[in-house]
Symmetry: C2
Subunit: 404 residues, 2 copies
């Protein structure tokens, strides 16, 4: 069960810190480092609401150097979390970017100090709708304020302040993580030396909003959702959340990847069964994705985080002139897209590049040839890794970071 | 309520016919012409099962000429029905192809005799899982045998036999209707003078199966589905069926069409509400599509018909050599696709054309430039209508059909 009482809500202290070592297996205290901000440090939200008494869970990898100049903030995607590499104590699986992050890897933790914060609204230790509202002692559920990408970034900045990191060497993220990267570079240009937005966009398209709405309706239409108060009834909208995940999962893969991986191959059978069992491998795969997801993710968090993505619109915040979001930006950018990504197609990345060009920004843009779709940034893609490593290496040299 | 007892199941007569005039408003007898086949005329199904005592509902428009040579069979898509033009008595709306079919229109009912049969497994009068099994007196629900596109076509052939139509002048259909067209031309080449498969494929792709599986899981995950026996409990899996429709609906439109129609426009409001209401027009539109769909469609029919589409694989039935499905075909084909259709992309149509070319068939192929996506075949698309009309006119002349 995901509800936990928070022993460390600071009533008198501004910030309390708990860095309990993760207990594999996912007990109620299995999350790593957590920072709790007391009532004197409320978080001002885009909606106008203020969040009083909130906690941010995060992981760090590597070592912060003496002048605090080697920090990389990795921003996770919709269903990601702070466990970037090594084991995720909650799922027992390897971190979601273990391919890329670690000693000697592309994001080399022997050289860089890597931080990843579970987003505000998430369900892996940071305050979200599945957590207990300290003011009521009950789960927030839908009384949790609706948050935005900018709110997530504000909360991350609070963590960085606590860690004494004034400027990030780099902020990196794919998909929703990329939205956070863009928000970081736009809102705090002086705090970002370099930025790598990957497979992302400055706004969610109508099609993207539509897919998210299908997922939300699947969750909210599940009788076990109970108007969001399922935790009070000790149930969970499992079926709805699984369907939301299945629909979303299709958008993460390209048609070509689905064809290559599954085609019309049957699942452990010689011929079709004339029934509604998972005859096809692709059906079995999707059902599996749905069922493992509901074990690790909170349905209300899914609602809040998808909403934050839908609301993101960096141009709208600047009178529809996107370049103003990057006015005289000093940040060095590397914008990356994948040819077969139809959720955030290359067109979206080009729009970012055009806006940066209009500000004469330092920007490199690489479209990676891949048939793996949106999820390519999570997968083994040597050209992508080479691009990312190359950019980081050049920027690190410019920043004066020592080689390991 | 969709369950009806069938007064006309022929026990002693081979075929009984009821041509009650449609009663607008959708009473239990609102369906038009119906043919009921008695126990001495069972339908042999691909699954090996036989369907004993079944009814096919159909509509006709125009007049069959003296030598019965001017009949066009229109095959409807997944959620279509036999009400091609004029008013649909069940929904009260215009027929789904009213733009194309009627006196003086592209499919001119002054010249052609148009027939459309509600598919086997459907829910508009033809026998399907929502109908009563005459052997038990209870709704078929999941005891209904799983059917295929070929089964649908066999049942249509029974109707044509009854109408005394030996050869169709043309068989036309889009999407699942196009699968039926291909099946007709392949299984009964001598009964088809010409064929127009539109926005279709000889097999469902992994991505298409995946989207269908999401829809099925949404329905089957709805607690009101009750293992398929919802009619016995006087409930219906409304939420699940609506989600299935919403997910499918996204695939019927192109990303460009969604952008053009909706973009990020808000629904009757000046700014976002920081909530889970339908802030965006595209959300409101999708919710509306879901809610009107559940009023007119049966959830179990949705399961059966999507399954039939998933199972369709014309090449697999011919040892993976697609051209064998059209061996020495005498049929004149016009294959039509739309540039922005990502559900059945032009690549799928090209595959049909290549197979027909390999048999030196008489085939014309037109890819229509459109940004409307898969649904373009249902919408105002002058180039498409010109193509269809031109092909029909030429074929009619060859067939010796008089101009009206």
């Amino acid at each position: 069960m995901r509800v936990r009482n928070r022993a460390t809500i600071g009533e008198n202290v501004a910030i309390s810190e708990s860095a309990a070592s993760p207990a594999p297996g996912g007990t109620s205290d299995s999350f790593g480092a957590r920072l709790t901000f007391g009532p004197d440090r409320p978080l001002r939200l885009d909606s106008g609401a203020g969040l009083v008494g909130y906690t941010m869970a995060y992981q760090t990898y590597g070592r912060l150097n003496a002048d605090r100049s080697n920090a990389i903030l990795i921003c996770h995607a919709l269903t990601g979390d702070q466990y970037v590499t090594d084991a995720n104590p909650y799922t027992g699986r390897r971190g979601w970017w273990d391919l890329v992050v670690g000693p000697g890897k592309v994001i080399d933790t022997d050289r860089y100090f890597v931080i990843c914060v579970n987003v505000l609204g998430g369900c892996m230790g940071s305050t979200g709708p599945g957590e207990v509202n300290p003011a009521t002692g009950r789960p927030w559920a839908l009384t949790f304020p609706v948050i935005t990408i900018a709110d997530m970034v504000r909360a991350q900045a609070m963590v960085l302040d606590h860690l004494g990191i004034q400027q990030l060497f780099c902020v990196i993220g794919g998909s929703m993580g990329g939205m956070q990267v863009l928000q970081w570079a736009s809102a705090y240009p002086e705090r970002v030396f370099s930025a790598v937005p990957i497979a992302t966009s400055v706004r969610h398209s109508a099609q993207n909003i539509a897919f998210h709405e299908v997922g939300r309706q699947a969750i909210m239409g599940d009788r076990d959702w109970r108007d969001g108060n399922y935790l009070d009834h000790d149930v969970r909208p499992r079926a709805g959340l699984a369907v939301a995940r299945m629909a979303a999962h299709i958008t993460y893969l390209s048609e070509a990847a689905l064809r290559r991986k599954f085609g019309r191959k049957l699942q452990n059978r010689e011929r079709i069964t004339y029934g509604f069992d998972a005859d096809f491998q692709v059906e079995s795969y999707l059902r599996h994705q749905g069922s493992i997801f509901v074990e690790r993710f909170d349905a209300n968090s899914y609602l809040y985080i998808t909403r934050a993505m839908d609301y993101f619109d960096l141009a709208a915040e600047h009178d529809e002139v996107l370049s103003r979001a990057f006015r005289r930006t000093p940040v060095r950018y590397c914008v990356i897209s994948f040819t077969s990504d139809w959720l955030f197609p290359t067109r979206d990345s080009r729009e970012i590049v055009h806006a940066l060009n209009a500000e004469a920004a330092n920007v490199s843009f690489v479209e990676i040839e891949s048939d793996k779709g949106h999820d390519a940034f999570l997968l083994k893609e040597p050209e992508f890794h080479k691009t990312l490593g190359g950019f980081l290496g050049g920027a690190a040299e410019r920043r004066g970071l020592k080689k390991p």
